[in-house]
Subunit: 452 residues, 2 copies
């Protein structure tokens, strides 16, 4: 059997939902459907989740919330009307939205979690009803009934491992299960959401819990591409890739999946198939634990992220100073700044970190403490920094990848500020100036995928 | 004025010493001569320092030491006879060698330090006398008289900074100073030696202390070469290089200077000239703080060291685990294992360390503790490891160095296990299998110096 997850754009309107119905009808092994909240119908539209956040903000601030509540109701109503719901059919959805402010919440973070989660929850209820109306034997499955218990962190919960035994009981359910993504319940029965992108997590959890043969993740692209589609025309579509390749590329800015979304699928060793709701016949991209390396494409993808900075520290005879790095890391730890990479020369290190870690105040305090702790000869923060990554399991067995990559940089006249490749040899990381990052990605893409 | 240091092979015999006399006579600004112990006269010979270590070992073990003492006396006697010393002239040297076991020492490490230091001490006394005999106004300067005070570590002393004020008083001495390298005295007046290569350190200390215009370091090679001379025929001689280039190359296996030998010269901003006692007219190699980068040779040298190993650790979502690296470094610290570099992927790190750190027991205990502390998915030690380095200040301003280096590796069909380049951009470090290291160096040399 297959677990199948639909993203927000696949569920944004009754028109889109008709495609979903066709997809479910086409394959009787699609037994569990995990749904997001309705997404954007066009680029100017607002996602229901974002409307719910505004709704919650109004409630918290004591402002009038009737208009925003009606706007949310309107989004679900459009879908319901597309399937000829009677007012009675739709009443529970309307009531649930209007009742949200009336419940009691432990504090505003739990309130916010509950409001947001209803984007998915109400959509799953609505879709289960739609399925029934069009003749699919389906039922709504709430995470509480499913036994999806999560840690007590309202906006960044993790599944509790015991949940999988609960989920397993739904493996041979007679009806197609329609389940909301994005949230579970803590031990006290309160809603806690996963981090953003959490419907993908629920899909992976259900795939593992139900021991699915395949986890189909339907979005609005035909495939995962070897490069961000806005950088090149007709980008190479990836037919098959590994979890590790996916993870390394998402680290470097690929936005298809959140880093952690696939962990349950990896743990359950379940293949993932990314497909397009609008072109369900396209094969999409398969992600699995292992694949045969391709001689033709040893590189799976290239990506860049501008969300990094580098702290350069040099000190003569640095590498003779026992414990130097520990001292530096202790200071970083004190300021709650986590480092990402630490390429080094003989007497210098560059500490690569996410910009998210830093405010100007933290940066100044941290560097001032480093100054007095380690007495560097030179120290400065490089904010104009981007990390460019070349990723592919096949690189391990192919001599000359680095030569081709570095030659591509040289041809494009781009200076390499940092290079980092560990023993895994599945990726090489380059540091370049931010304004050269896109050019670097294009140059690397041209080098490794120019046959296309 | 110039401080001039002669290595052991320049002082191994009376014949060699005649060249030294000529060099001193040729340039009246050579006012301070720092000498090593007599070195090897031919490849099968033994250095006097090594004879002294055997002598000390016999004394410590209570074995008969007459034969080894006579062998040491013989080495100095050969030099003395070459300059027609009378038995009375030579008597103090003989007596000093025979009296070494009669002194009292705090413990055996101090005994060993005193025995070893006499290789230089007696040679300096002998050479001062030789200079007088051939008409050079010279005097022996003992480190105690000079005021060269060192920390109380018998075999790895450091100069105490106050010493420089003492040394400064000898700046305008009427006679040429002949000073033994390799040792100083602690606050209690006991001999403590520098680490191996310590005569170079004394030379640099004297150059700084006397505020010399130049520190001439005479050895048995015409120049420092861009590559180890045994790897290529007619290697490129380096005319001028920076201290940092020297340091990075010595780290990677260049044996001309010990890492720390040049620190006093760097601190005093004194240029160093490496010259050949056997070809004193050859210009040698100048090492200074800064030089104009060369367009023709952006790379100054290539070198490899096989004395490293790599500990590979991978764990899924490693980079989400706050404090992961600190935990690893804490375990290393506990076993007194210092790391050198830490290239990383997203979910793996490779910790490069010197093989000197490890015994099989330490390695096993450390890895077992890492296993229980950090629970890696995969962990193994790579002993078959060599670090290849490409070094040059000019690399910073030249795009395409990495491309040329990586292409050289690819042409030679050598797999790159690790690449590491920090923001200083003065060197790039490659990890390769040990048995490919020499081939890698040759390939890189051919790429960057093929015009020669």
């Amino acid at each position: 059997m297959k677990v199948i997850k639909f993203g927000g754009s696949s569920l944004a309107s009754s028109e889109q939902l008709k495609k979903v119905i066709q997809i479910i009808s086409d394959d009787p092994t699609r037994r569990c459907v995990v749904v997001s909240a309705p997404g954007k119908r066009n680029p100017a539209d607002t996602k229901v989740t974002d409307l719910l956040i505004r709704y919650a903000d109004c409630v918290i601030a004591g402002r009038d919330y009737q208009e925003i509540a009606q706007q949310i109701i309107g989004r679900y109503q459009e879908i319901a009307l597309g399937f000829n719901f009677t007012p009675e059919d739709f009443a529970p959805i309307r009531r649930a939205i209007l009742n949200l402010p009336l419940a009691t919440y432990q504090d505003n973070t739990y309130l916010m979690a509950a409001f947001k989660a209803h984007g998915e929850k109400l959509n799953a209820q609505l879709i289960a009803r739609v399925f029934n109306l069009v003749g699919i034997a389906a039922q709504y499955l709430d995470p509480s009934a499913a036994g999806l218990v999560v840690t007590d962190v309202p906006d960044d919960a993790q599944i509790k491992p015991d949940s999988y035994a609960n989920l397993r009981k739904w493996q041979n359910n007679a009806n197609v299960l329609v389940m909301p993504g994005f949230f579970g319940y803590n031990d006290r029965g309160e809603i806690c959401t996963f981090s953003r992108g959490g419907s993908d997590i629920t899909g992976a959890i259900m795939a593992r819990g139900l021991n699915a043969d395949l986890y189909e993740n339907f979005t609005d692209v035909d495939a995962i591409y070897a490069v961000k589609p806005n950088l090149v025309s007709h980008p190479h579509a990836i037919g098959h890739m590994t979890f590790r390749e996916m993870r390394e590329l998402s680290y470097a800015g690929f936005s298809v999946f959140h880093d952690e979304a696939l962990i349950p699928a990896i743990q359950g060793n379940i293949d993932v198939n990314v497909k397009n709701t609008n072109h369900p016949d396209a094969p999409g991209t398969i992600i699995s634990a292992r694949i045969q390396p391709s001689k033709e494409y040893p590189v799976r993808g290239v990506a860049a992220s501008k969300n990094f900075c580098g702290l350069y520290i040099s000190k003569y005879l640095l590498n003779k100073e026992v414990g130097f790095t520990r001292k530096v890391l202790d200071v970083l730890y004190k300021y709650n700044v986590s480092y990402e990479h630490m390429p080094s020369g003989i007497d210098d290190i560059t500490i690569i970190m996410s910009e998210d870690n830093l405010t100007p105040d933290i940066e100044q305090a941290m560097m001032s403490e480093l100054q007095t702790t380690i007495h560097p000869d030179e120290m400065h923060m490089i904010h104009d920094y981007a990390i460019v990554m070349v990723v592919g399991e096949g690189m391990r067995d192919t001599i000359g990848i680095m030569a081709r990559a570095a030659t591509a940089f040289a041809r494009a006249n781009i200076r390499l500020q940092m290079i980092n490749q560990g023993a895994s040899e599945i990726s090489i990381m380059f540091g370049v100036a931010q304004n050269e990052a896109d050019r670097a990605v294009s140059a690397l893409y041209a080098e490794f995928f120019k046959q296309d």
